[in-house]
Symmetry: C2
């Protein structure tokens, strides 16, 4: 498992490429939740999500020769933009395989960061095949959005900052999709302040992490159905052992609970959070009796939403 | 004109009742505007707008006897909530006259802060008559949302903070409605850093401040038509002399320019700003050639929007 020194080195490595994001609080939110809530605003991170941290660390961890050959990933979401921007900032060539179903605006953003976009059919198999072909033809290094230790370590820096910004947190909540943010957050807490409970929020319609913790082994999600588009992926063999060992609990929430929490944060905090980021708020609200008067950190994972397609 | 010492006293008076709001920046916004933009986020202020500052200072400037009798105002917008919350926090009785056309959600917010709400017909005359009646019957002190020096001085504290948070600002932009924020901002700059240009953004459909500066006297707006609901009011005899002496220019923008700027800030900065707050961004964008490579502060006046009724 990543050491404290490795996390410190990671934070140093990426520091000039990412924002130290602010922590926001709100009296009215504290009243509603009955606890002290501290929002670590990764929605204000470059490209609008924490993914910038892991992508940057993964690229900066490569050798000069590897960076010359470039990096490749497949993603229709925030990791596509994160790799594209991190590659741009570090002078690395990037190829992003994007399913034909990805919104045009996201493709434009990736192209705007100077990456090459390769279209493919909107299936997991087509995405993997297209990425493998790029690897083969160019020698590019494949980057995984959540199941790669450099990405997880990069993600950990958000919680490291939060622990430095807020004293005496009793718990930190994150959303759970592929597991990269939850694992990184758990690592940060384990290495820097062991007495913090690490908790995940997950949609009922994509409950693989919840099921995996019960089964003691990875239970991939099939046909995930949730508005939290960042959380439709499953845990992997790199992050699951970390989550299994260090995470205290994962709480499930319904679609309506996610939408209500998202709206509440927009209205009360005046910040734009994406549906995935609303999931830990929904989980905390649902179980607020358990956390009464506690100090809770929430990693607000991102703020990339389509304003033409809001759920309220 | 308010002295530097009076502004310092004002800031001290209200400090424990208001947030010192953060200043946000964004590389992508700077690129789009061709300047260094610093957002003073009063949308994160208590009750969601800078109005909390002026309302709090006005109430805290009253004698104990006056506060016992209470305060009254008429407003359908942010000042209603600001007076209600400031009164609540300072243990003062507040009566808010609200036109029957005010959204139910705003009435509920005011009631939630413990103020008394009196309904009236949705005309200026009915509002003033109802407020006068409350004054007469209860001895309450009338608070004006923009044309009262204690309110203007309270508003000035936002720019005072901004000048402390950001060095070397070349200009500060605010929206112009009743003129209370623009006058306060101009006072702060005049008393604490004279070399900053103070600029206002105003909707074409409510251009009374623009016309008043040309005419050299107050030209009230008739039938204001703008989505920027906080800017439909006219300058007053207390703030106009300050604006006339200290404000460098007022720029007009169209409704579409306001909507585009609002959307741009939501999408790029992940913060919720109300239409009125988008006006200075629209003005700055329109005249961006004039401000190329300058350091610009913008007072983001508020973030209270109806999510069921967005202009995009």
């Amino acid at each position: 498992m990543t050491t404290q020194q490795e996390l410190i080195d990671t934070a140093k490595r990426i520091t000039s490429y990412v924002h130290q994001t602010p922590v926001l609080t709100s009296e009215s939110i504290d009243e509603i939740f009955g606890a002290g809530i501290h929002l670590k605003c990764e929605n204000f991170q470059k490209m609008g999500a924490f993914k910038m941290r892991g992508a940057t660390n993964a690229i900066l961890s490569l050798s000069a020769r590897e960076r010359e050959l470039g990096v490749v990933t497949h993603s229709s979401g925030n990791f596509a933009q994160a790799v594209a921007l991190a590659a741009n900032k570090t002078g690395t060539k990037a190829t992003i395989v994007m399913p034909s179903s990805a919104p045009e605006i996201k493709k434009k953003a990736v192209l705007g960061y100077g990456a090459t976009v390769i279209d493919c059919a909107p299936t997991q198999q087509a995405r993997e095949q297209a990425a493998a072909k790029v690897q083969e033809e160019t020698g590019s290094v494949f980057l995984h959005p959540s199941n790669q230790i450099e990405v997880i370590n990069g993600n950990a820096t958000a919680a490291m900052e939060l622990l430095g910004q807020v004293d005496n947190l009793d718990a930190i909540f994150t959303p759970v999709g592929g597991g990269g943010l939850l694992a990184g957050t758990a690592l940060a807490a384990f290495r820097f302040r062991k007495q913090v409970s690490i908790l995940g929020g997950e949609p009922e319609g994509a409950d693989d992490a919840f099921q995996s913790l019960i089964a003691g082994q990875i239970v991939p999600v099939e046909n995930p159905k949730t508005i939290a588009d960042g959380l439709r992926t499953s845990l992997g063999d790199v992050n699951f052992p970390i989550i299994k060992e260090l995470v205290e609990a994962i709480y499930l929430v319904s679609e309506q609970e996610i939408i209500d929490a998202m709206r509440l944060i927009w209205e009360r905090m005046k910040i734009i959070i994406e549906p995935s980021s609303a999931v830990p708020f929904a989980a905390l609200y649902k179980h607020r009796d358990k956390f009464r008067n506690k100090n809770i950190g929430i990693i607000v994972s991102g703020g990339n939403v389509d304003l033409n397609n809001l759920p309220f």
